[in-house]
């Protein structure tokens, strides 16, 4: 799907300061070699299976299916991975690649903290130094994850610039990377940024749909009718979609964070409200004003609170191959509680955006139709926040 220079249709590219072009070239060359290297892939598969707990389950949510009365619902359980989310897939791949490239240090940005925790985990496992940049507001929203990262030996740097959220953490990590390219790999957490990151991250996350496709064929003997996943930068979604893109009968639906609604300014539903722009190394859709100033975005979910979307998603949208729907905070919190009560699975507030749309869509589908919803992460980290959203005075 990637054209030369990392284009996905008109999107993607390498819009970065000249100071980091060298590092990006080095990364691209290394990845082009290792992606076809058997020893590298064997090592990564061992890490996936023996350390991260892959393959993740494709779970038939029978109670949810019966309750909603429509499509048969399967949950792709990325929440069961080590560290509790899909982020570990990409991080193990990039950390192993960095190690092969002779790098000794990983730096990363994080929003909800899931990617930061995963990076700290991989760094501990592979004996690398780790520094994680996290918006100050997010360090407060996700204090437990900050502790987890520190526990595993990572340094967490609170970013106070700008809106002090995910976009500012990305900017800070990029700035820091340009200062120490020699020994450091920037372990970008989503399918965004300059080429080759959107391709590298997608390839490592594609394990989700590779497994899901084999699992659904084994269980049902046919492809699903719909695949649903939440979209911030879009890494779990592209991972969930990738091996179904060529199967035109499968509807692909990305669920964006609408925050308080796409008719308000407090939203992060980039594809729904954004326009084409150039930021963080890529051309894609961004929430911005008419002068190209990046808009402050809002979502209850720190992991989806980002003003852009990965370039491959932007292209899937342009081509009409995938749909992108907005889900509000209220709908996501309802879905968070629904899955907890119905199936005894507490989903991440990010994943709850995908579940919210599944709850709307399943009853409109026939009983012999099949839906796969990716549960990108576990929701333990979100319990106190959801309790407060419901008016309880609960703090971690």
């Amino acid at each position: 799907m990637t054209n030369p220079n990392g284009r996905f249709g008109i999107h993607g590219g390498q819009y970065v300061p000249v100071t980091i072009m060298g590092a990006i070239d080095e990364l691209e060359k290394a990845y082009e070699f290792y992606k076809n290297d058997k020893a590298f892939n064997d090592e990564l598969t061992t890490l996936f299976n023996e350390y991260a707990g892959r393959p993740s389950l494709l779970y038939y949510a029978e109670k949810m299916t019966k309750d909603l009365g429509g499509a048969k619902i399967y949950l792709k359980r990325e929440d069961l991975n080590h560290t509790g989310s899909h982020k570990i897939n990409n991080v193990l791949g990039q950390a192993l690649l960095a190690k092969k490239m002779g790098k000794t240090k990983l730096i990363a940005e994080t929003g909800a903290g899931q990617h930061g925790v995963a990076t700290a985990t991989a760094a501990a496992l592979l004996g690398m130094e780790c520094v994680v940049y996290m918006g100050k507001e997010d360090t407060e929203r996700q204090a437990l994850n900050v502790y987890r990262m520190k526990l595993m030996g990572a340094e967490v740097v609170p970013v106070t610039a700008g809106t002090a959220t995910l976009k500012d953490a990305v900017s800070e990590a990029m700035r820091e990377w340009s200062k120490r390219l020699d020994d450091t790999h920037y372990c970008l957490g989503s399918v965004m940024g300059p080429h080759p990151f959107p391709t590298i991250v997608r390839d490592f996350q594609a394990v989700i749909s590779r497994e899901a496709k084999a699992q659904i064929l084994e269980k049902e003997g046919r492809l699903p009718d719909v695949v649903l996943a939440c979209v911030g930068g879009g890494s779990n979604a592209i991972g969930s979609f990738y091996h179904f893109i060529e199967d035109k009968s499968v509807r692909l639906i990305g669920c964006e964070a609408a925050g308080r609604g796409i008719d308000t300014f407090e939203t992060a539903a980039t594809v729904n409200v954004g326009s084409v722009g150039i930021f963080h190394g890529m051309k894609s859709y961004f929430c911005q004003d008419k002068f190209g100033q990046i808009a402050p975005v809002y979502s209850i979910s720190a992991g989806l609170d980002y003003p852009g979307v990965g370039p491959e998603h932007a292209n899937l949208y342009d081509m009409g191959r995938a749909e992108y729907v907005p889900i509000t905070d209220d709908e996501a919190v309802d879905a968070f509680e629904y899955l907890s009560k119905t199936e005894g699975i507490i989903p991440a507030i990010e994943s709850s955006h995908a579940l919210a749309h599944a709850i709307k869509l399943a009853p409109q589908m026939k009983k012999d139709q099949i839906m796969i919803v990716t549960i990108s992460g576990r929701g333990d980290k979100d319990c106190a926040m959801v309790a407060r959203y419901r008016g309880e005075d609960l703090h971690e």
Binding site: Q14, V18, T19, A161, G162, I278, H280, Q288
Partner: protein, 249 residues
């Protein structure tokens, strides 16, 4: 046609950077006039961007102050028209790709021409992505100015061969690195090569100016404006004069 290359060739040049609209456009105008009256050979006006990923906290804060005051691309271009009519040195814009892209590249280039702007530099537009912007800028007589950083000689040469107007060096850590880049650029291009510095003293300026064709003051004026706000003019005049005297002594 832009005359950047001609005007800035054959001498050591001094080019201050000023964030446009920090804290307001009147202060920017006074800073431009004070710089030009004290030896600046050209001016770089920074167009504020909400997320200046290539720059440090000093310029970031300046950008936020300018944006908070209600500055927009339209207002900056309008002000630039006034500045270019009052000074006889070239004025350039320095900003990020999205500011130009979202405005419309053609509309931006045309407005720059009408305002007498000689060149535009975009921090996040490397050689690999410049085509979309360059041909349009050229057709309006505005130079799309390139950055070059330490890299293999072949890459520096490739960038130099297509350089327009002048060339800015960024990310070089030592004088030898700067000199080497300048050497490779000179083998492949006739554009003046300018290196940017922060916190430059008169003494530093004397030695740094020997490395290339001139000096850009990246954050020094921004810091003066951060400290003295609307009363910066006399401090800027003194500082630019000090550096100017140093590089020409």
């Amino acid at each position: 046609m832009s005359n950047l290359k001609e005007v800035l060739s054959g001498k050591k040049v001094l080019i201050p950077f000023i964030t446009c609209g920090d804290p307001d456009l009147e202060t920017t105008e006074k800073a431009v006039l004070a710089s030009c009256a004290n030896g600046a050979d050209a001016i770089i006006l920074g167009m504020p961007f909400s997320d200046p990923t290539a720059e440090g906290p000093v310029v970031y804060e300046a950008n936020l102050r300018a944006l908070a005051s209600g500055i927009t691309t339209d207002k900056i271009i309008e002000a630039a028209k006034r500045y270019t009519s009052k000074v006889n040195v070239p004025i350039m814009f320095m900003t990020y790709a999205n500011v130009v892209f979202s405005y419309g590249i053609e509309r931006f280039a045309s407005e720059c021409r009408d305002a007498g702007i000689a060149g535009v530099t975009l921090f996040d537009l490397p050689y690999e992505e410049k085509d979309e912007f360059e041909s349009i800028c050229s057709s309006y007589g505005v130079d799309l100015i390139s950055f070059v950083a330490p890299a293999p000689d072949a890459r520096i040469a490739k960038i130099a061969k297509e350089a327009k107007g002048i060339m800015f060096i960024m990310g070089a850590k030592t004088d030898d690195e700067i000199k080497h880049i300048v050497k490779v650029v000179k083998e492949n291009s006739s554009v003046p090569c300018i290196c940017g510095f922060d916190d430059l003293t008169a003494q530093d300026a004397k030695t740094k100016v020997l490395c290339s064709d001139g000096i850009a003051l990246c954050t020094d004026l921004v810091k003066i404006i951060e400290r003295f706000g609307k009363n910066s003019q006399v401090h800027i005049a003194n500082y630019v004069k000090t550096i100017n005297d140093a590089i020409r002594s």
